[in-house]
Structures are given as C-alpha cells and as structure tokens.
Assembly symmetry: C2
Amino acid sequence: MSEQLSIADARQAEAIGRQVVLQGWVRTRRDSKAGFSFLELNDGSCFGNIQVIASADLENYEQEIKKLSAGCSVSVVGLVKESPGKGQTTEIEATAVTVHGLADTETYPLQKKRHSFEFLRTIAHLRPRTNTFGAIARVRNCICNSIHQFFQEDGFLYIHTPVITTSDCEGAGEMFQVTTLELDKVPKTEAKVDFTQDFFDRPAYLTVSGQLEAEIFACGLGKVYTFGPTFRAENSNTARHLAEFWMVEPEMAFYDLEDNMRVAERMLKRIFRDVLEKCPEDMEFFNLRIDKTVIETLEKIIDADFVRLPYTEAVDILTASGEKFEFPVDWGTDLQSEHERYLTEKHFQCPVILYDYPRQIKPFYMRVNDDGHTVRAMDVLVPKVGEIIGGSQREERLDVLQQRMKEQNLEPEGYWWYLDLRRYGTVPHSGFGLGLERVLQFVTGMANIRDVIPFPRTPGTAEF
Amino acid sequence: MSEQLSIADARQAEAIGRQVVLQGWVRTRRDSKAGFSFLELNDGSCFGNIQVIASADLENYEQEIKKLSAGCSVSVVGLVKESPGKGQTTEIEATAVTVHGLADTETYPLQKKRHSFEFLRTIAHLRPRTNTFGAIARVRNCICNSIHQFFQEDGFLYIHTPVITTSDCEGAGEMFQVTTLELDKVPKTEAKVDFTQDFFDRPAYLTVSGQLEAEIFACGLGKVYTFGPTFRAENSNTARHLAEFWMVEPEMAFYDLEDNMRVAERMLKRIFRDVLEKCPEDMEFFNLRIDKTVIETLEKIIDADFVRLPYTEAVDILTASGEKFEFPVDWGTDLQSEHERYLTEKHFQCPVILYDYPRQIKPFYMRVNDDGHTVRAMDVLVPKVGEIIGGSQREERLDVLQQRMKEQNLEPEGYWWYLDLRRYGTVPHSGFGLGLERVLQFVTGMANIRDVIPFPRTPGTAEF
C-alpha cells in the first residue's frame, strides 16, 4: 500500500524508492512530446513544488490529466525517484492521478502572471495559494510557535486576557464599541443611551491591550504572557496600521527594566534564529523577490548585542549629528521614525533599546525614576521598521501611581482593581508588547502590513 | 552569589545545598517559640509552597518579618536544605528577607478561610493568588501548549482568523455588533442606519467561529488550525455559557470524516495525557477538592478507544434503553444532554463519537451523505460534559452546497468567496471545533465555566 506523505517529506532524498500518495494543487502543467506530462504540485507543506511525471498510459490521461491547469486539485499515487533535474532532489512517477476539482482557466482569478499585492487583497480567499502568501503563512506560523516555545521553556504561563473590556489601558486610544443594542432604535433615558439594556449593562469596547489584566496574573503567579488580538479604531490608512492585529505581552513579577530588556532581546533573537533555521526556503524567496537585505539583517541582529541608550543621550546624539531631520529633536517630545532610523541604521547600525523617556509623554503606569522627570520606559528599535517593542517597568508604589493618574486626569474608580495590586503585596514588575505583524513585516520585508495578516481589517474593509 | 530560582525548582532534591534567591507571596506565617518563624511561600511556578525558616537573628525580624501575613510579597535569600518535615523535600533557611509589599490583614479580601467561588469572581484580580485559581491557570496553560504542540508536530499551520467579521458562520447565532458610531446619535438615511459612516462602511460583528476562513487556508495550504477568541451574544446565564470564549478549530484538506475523528480522538488523548504528566500536583488538588473522579476519568479515556456510533443507531439504543428521559428521543431531533450522558456514562462508559446526523438539524456546510437524509457531522461526547467537540466533513460539491444554502434561506452573495473554494480546485476536507473552557471544565471538574477563564464575560458582567 502507498503511504500518505507531505510534499515537504517527498522532496527529501530519504523518500526515494517509496510508494506514496501525494495530495495538493497543480501549479503548472507542461506536456512533453515524448508521451507524458509534467505537473508541478504544491500542498502548502513547503515552499517548493514536487514534479509529477504523468504518462500518457494513465487511463485518464487524455480526458482529465491533459486538462489540468493552475489551481486544480489532485491525488497522485506513485513512486518517488531521484530527479535528474536541477534544483530538485526527487520527483514522482505517477501510477494514478485522481482529479478532485478543476479550475477553469477562463475564470480562475490566479493566472500564471504575477499579480499585484493590491489585486490579491481583493481575493484574499485565494491568495494563500500563491508563493508569496504561502510563504507568509508558514513564516507567521513559525514565529508564533517560536514565541510560545520561548516563553514556555522559560516557565511563563500563557494567559488569555479579555477582548471585550470596559476599561481603557492607555487612557486614550480610539476604541470600537461592542453592543447588542439595535442601532436604529437605541434606547434612551433622558437623552442618554440606556446601557442597562445593553448586553453588559454598560458601555463595552474591544481591548487595545491586555497589559493591565496581565499585571493581575503576574502579581500572583510570577511570569505570564498574553498572545491575542487587539484593536484600534484609528482612521489610519497606512501600510503600518491595522484595526485588528495580534499582540504578545509578557509581564514578569520581580523584573526590573534591565531584566525586561534582556527578555525582549532574547525573544527577538530567538524568533529570528528560528525563522532562518526552520523556513530557509521561504526566507530565500523573500530575500530574492521582496527585499534583498532581509536575511543579512536578521543574521547580523542575531549576533549583535543590542545597544542600550537613555532617551536623553539619544537626543544628544541626534542633536549633534548634523543630520537634516524633517522634525526637530527636542527633549520632552517623542522621537519620530526618522530619528529612530538614524540611530539604528546610521549611528549604531544595530538594534537599539531606548529607555528612560520623559515622564510627560508616557502612560501613567510607567515607573517614575528618582530624577522625577523620566520614567522607566523602553522602546526596542530595529533598522527600517523603527519601534518594534514598547515596554516599561510598572509603577508599583501606590501613592506615586495615584499621583500619576491624577496628572493624567484618570478616574481612579475605573482602576480600583489595578490599584489593589499595589495595595496588597505589591512587587516590582515589568513587561512589554510586541506587535506580531510588525515583526512579520520586518522578517519578510513585506511593505504593507495588510499582506502579513490573513484577513486585514482597515477603515472600510472587513471582507472575508 | 545567590542564584535566582523558581519555587518549583527549589522544591526539588537537586536544589539542596544551593544558595538561592526566591521571590513570591507569603501564604501563611507561623512563629515558633524557639526564636524563628516559618513562612509558606508561593510564586505561581507550582502548586506547592516552600517553607522558609526566618530566624529572629535577621535584622528586620521584629519590624518586618513578624508583620508578614497572607498576600505579602518578599524576596528571600538563603540556603536550600533537606526538609525534615513530611510532604516536602526541601526548605530554605533565610539569610535575608526583603519585604516588597504588605497586605493589611484588616482589608485584604483573601482571608485564610475558604471563600466561595461566587465571592472570588467579584475579586477576579486577586483570585489567581488562591490555590484553586493558580492551579487552573497552570492547567489552562498546559492544555494550550499541548494543543499547539499536537498540531505543530503534525505539520499544521497556526492561522489567525479575524475577530471582526461581516459574515455569520452558522447562518444564525446571536452576534455582538462592533461599531464606531456614537450610540446617542446614530446617523440615519431614510430611517435606516447610515453604515457608510461606520468604521467598516457596513455592519460588522464579533465572530462566532473561524471555520469558514480556516477552510480558505486549508483549501490551499492543507492542514491548518485556529486558536482564538469567539463570541456569542446569547442571554444565557448558565454554568456552561460565556459570551467570550476560546476555541480551537483545525481544518484539513483531503481528510474525510473518519480522518477527522482520528484527529479529534488523538488530540483529546494528547491533552489529557499532558495534563496528568505535567500538572500532577494541580490535578491531585482538583481530584481531592473539586471532583474525586477527574484523574480516574482521564486515565480511562487515555486508554480506551472512542466508540463510533451513527446517530440513527444511537436513537435505536436510546429508544430500546427503557430509560426514563425528560425529553423524548425522536429521529430527526437533536439529542439532549441526558441522552448524550446515557450513552457515554451508562451504555458505553467511554467517549462516543456520534456521526451522520439528520440533514435538517445541521448547518449548510456539512457534506450530504448518499442517503440524502443525513450529513457527515460528528459530535464527540464525553462523560459528565456531553458534547466536547463538534465537527464535520465539509460539502465540497458546488451544486450540493448551493442547494443546501437555498434550503436554509442563505443569500449566496455573502458567501461568494466560500463558494469559490468549491469552484476552483475543490477538495474533500474536514474539521472540528473544540471549546477550550469546556475541556478545562472536564479536566478540572470545575462546575462553573466562569471559573476556568481569567475574566469571564457574561450578561451584565465585563468587569476587569
């Protein structure tokens, strides 16, 4: 009997001589005058195809096999042989080809020619069948797995923080509202929406971050991380913004900012190393077709120590650089992308962890330094992308935290439980957030963030 | 220098003789007349505590150590020694105890006495610090990790299907609406809501299932799984319903219903085996305090073959059983929980996979059998919980699928891309859904689903 094999396995030398069943989708068909056809078959298990040799002797050769075109689905039974061809180790000599589904060449939207990414977004249900989007799916899977393994091996607990929330982590942030009220007849009492008739008896939103809830678990169970979807209702139509994206947020009790930096650096290096090791074919494709620097960039980062630089020194470096920036550099304002890129690409030529930012530009939960002017914030900057991680040591002192909330006009009532964490058994703790899609953009070189998530949600777009 | 160690590691015999730093929260303090105090310390790394012996010679003994109570946070430096006490391998002789945060015994809500789970839900920010909820967090983490490993080892790709959606997988289902319109002044044109002013230019909802999108990826990349939050806006105040819960949905190209059953059975056994192996202390606790049958039940399932039983035969068995059921058994209606429990608990005394359900009670996407009356649906039933997995082979034939949609009054326009999967290179494929919280209830014996998710969302409740 023939054994079921993935094409990834069938392409290895070890498969030679085995009688197998392969199942997948035809990429191309080429007919030889010598009385057989070559099918390039892909099943998603790897970037490369396997070549199937289908002889004219097969009973359905004329009626079916010769009609196969890009997108058709087949099962192939046959013998794996050493391939005489270049760039492939094996090929399969078919003894049977079963056709499951055809794909009419007149109407099938994926033609042989190269399609623009813009066009492919309109057929997001078919784009996983292309080389580029198959590769993105595998690299995305690899990175997710790498993240989980990194934390699991280090004793972190994976926790699920809620998507539906009634609190707002950043104190600002544009949020989506979640409701079961009928929008064409919203109930009101005294001209105000009557939320007692809504599902949760109060206004509810989609979370912008699981950090505050992750702190709950860290402040009782030590080391935890979240990995889930987060949301921004910003009307940003850029290549770097999504309304729905995935975020990883580790949070560690008894970790200070230096510990936090070490976790962030180790995690990024682990991700990059895994991608290069486990997806070499996919990465070669990105390096060849999308951005000729991606592999070299990742390799350099894996070997380099990240620079640690206080914000204040960064401002000094930028001021003294003689560089012409569009935006002025001024202590007390956020750095712009051009400044971040100057630091990582020109000045240091490696990732930089900026820390100790001005108090007034950072959220209330970041720990205030003894100088009173700065807080224990950190941003990890990488070449080309800029900020890829943002984090901080959290303010664990109840009185200082309350003072900071007052400064930022936050109502303590909504944060009673967050304050309780400081009231009972408070501990120094730290954490950060990593946007999965930003990492994917960095790793693959893909210019538009809409192309590294299966089904992008952006203003006006929620198809599929 | 002392090395940082988790309490899980410090409790092992290998730690004896090492100079360590432990950090965590005090569970209890007991003072000996012999001039020292015993602290039970927990850091979340495992169920058990470590006993810290703090001598009166320590400089902060009177001022600080003797004030320690449940919930206080400390760092302890000391030597790990063999413990003369029963039920513990090691203990630590402190050379320094640093107090990070006290927890006023007058106001700290977690007192020594046992609290009801209802009460603990009102302090969900503190309940991870209890034995029960620490154990749940570790078992939940273990199960999530087990699920990822199971699929990763088998070549599945983890994919993220969207939370915000404009389609409704089940064709029915009560959904939450997602909007950026201001509810107190919803814009209207001709008495209808003007969705062109909403974020996505149309009504958008929270997903009830990622299945249809998972099918997209399976029908191009082979074997995939989703693992993410899903939502139901049902007004169900039961111990088994949540408005927000996590679901795992594998989807496999070229898999028929029998293949699907095999994946489901293997996955459940893998989860149960991992939990028993990796969380033995936590499971002993559940077995002792929550449900005295959980360990035995899991062990039996791991060793048993799941029974496969067509729905029609199940109806025959139930009808012939002589059992008095509250609801009548009738071919063509859904089985009730009492029927499912009779089959798994009394008749077979093991998990049962029911399959080939009546066409009229199942969704449009399930493959129609040759008999015309049944579809290739399957439900995995386990003792006590009943249905834990629901799945099916999907209808891959375009014409049959279109006919089924017509039967169920579904508009094909909304499903153009789903139909395209059958139009171009269609393949037999199958998948199922597993509710994470149901599994957790089954594994731990916890009666209420609100206690196995960090922050439950239910009608009227979205605190934290």
